[in-house]
Subunit: 318 residues, 2 copies
Amino acid sequence: MRYSDYDIAGVLDQENAGATANDFLDDLDEVPIVEDASEIESADVLIIGISVMGGNFDSSWRDDVTTALERGWDVISGLHTFLNEDAEFRALAEENDCDIRDVRKPPDDLGVSDGAAADVDAEVILTVGTDCSIGKMTSTMELCGTAREMGYDAAVIPTGQTGIIVEGWGNPIDRVVSDFVAGAVEEMIVEKGSEHDYLFVEGQGSISHPSYSGVTCGILHGSMPDKLVLCHESNREAVHGFPDTPLPSPGAFGELYESLCDPVQPAKVVAGALNTSQIEDDRKARRAVEEYEAEIGSPATDPVRFSTRETVRTILES
Amino acid sequence: MRYSDYDIAGVLDQENAGATANDFLDDLDEVPIVEDASEIESADVLIIGISVMGGNFDSSWRDDVTTALERGWDVISGLHTFLNEDAEFRALAEENDCDIRDVRKPPDDLGVSDGAAADVDAEVILTVGTDCSIGKMTSTMELCGTAREMGYDAAVIPTGQTGIIVEGWGNPIDRVVSDFVAGAVEEMIVEKGSEHDYLFVEGQGSISHPSYSGVTCGILHGSMPDKLVLCHESNREAVHGFPDTPLPSPGAFGELYESLCDPVQPAKVVAGALNTSQIEDDRKARRAVEEYEAEIGSPATDPVRFSTRETVRTILES
């Protein structure tokens, strides 16, 4: 909702129906939250933007998809479950002349990387994280957006379903055959590397997430970054989905990412992005950012809450 | 050829036709190497065991596959290119009542890991490497075989096409959807963890291989090993497929693997396996093993050339 060009008619959320989007996030518009798709007066597209662990379709969403297709809306889904493979949805889409776009479905013609990302002219900046769901996509969008406002020729390399829906292109790296992960990232870097001066690559997961670290590592080596931005959420103490696994310190993460880059193409953490959305008070949030800066030894910001101009300058001119 | 139960009638190799298998590896039988499948008197199965970078089918092999199917042999392929999707091969297989088994094709019902591998009763030993194609599969087979001979209840967890062809089961992890890599390994660990006391997991690639590190990292975290065996090839100086990328020292690799295990489930390198096949002289090979032991700070052996009993004892009783 923050970064796409869509006009959002409503948000489907069975638990929070009646509220508006800006009740939850100040910087969003007053978009109504409704219980089901039939309450939306008119729309062109239903976006399944929810990102659940495993990425499977939940049967409680079936009525909304059916309603959307019956009303002639296209459906864009970021799930691992491909809606185009659902016979009922497929038939409804054909009947009502709608498109179902499964953006998590990668192209068929991928292969292994050959290191070509090292040779692109553009400088490559990768967001890496201490966990999943902490704001790597958001940080990438904010930093690249600010860089563009400041006059730099910068582009986002989308690697996940939300980034792809926002940017209108990209490759859902976590759905790619694992042998081709680095190759799929490299292909995007090479494609855009001659068109822009700076590429902000959307990172995924975390290098120590028990379930997703393979995707993270493949993006790290496939994109051959020149610089890293370390993303973290204040107060996050356990690994997402693994409440008994404590999160290492952000400083330890920085060292781990740099050690992994070293043998392939050295890259340093040059800045940090701290998600302080759990902290209400602005002054406390600022203090959390300062503590984070001390911990990782680099300048940082909360790219949603505070200015990103200084951070962008640090990143691009360091 | 070393580890499977097949009687091998011949080896197809256009470059080395006329020689025998034991001209290249002492411990193999005197199996004839021939130029094409028509020279083999009789067989039941053609195995495409070659492992090329990218894993694609080479058109120069087409005649041999055709010959095999026409003669009623089954075909087992470990390639990324699925031979079952080749209309001509499919038709020939049906006509001659043969099976084409694409062992690189993973099952459809995989999902993300949930950390269940940490709870299995069996002790999990993972082979990790400084590069790909240095002997992780071989080391896994040798160490597990010796453990069994010594009376331990041990099993191999095959994660690559060759291991799968040898063991007759397994999951080709580098072909799995990247988000499900850890989940696919975990599933095998959980399945076999209650049946055996020790699981030797076949590792893949290397944590700093530009193309394959994602697969390596996913196996590392998905298998949640208790112990690591670091595999290396003497004289290997550059990364496989990347002649300009120097290989870090084995000691640095040990530290990197241990740092990556730490946040998920701590595991130490307890032994090393050095592939000394590039060294002719036994004494020199022994010295290389000793230098490798000093470098990684653990006992080591060349599991093909020298005894593995001491190493197995070290691994299982440390």
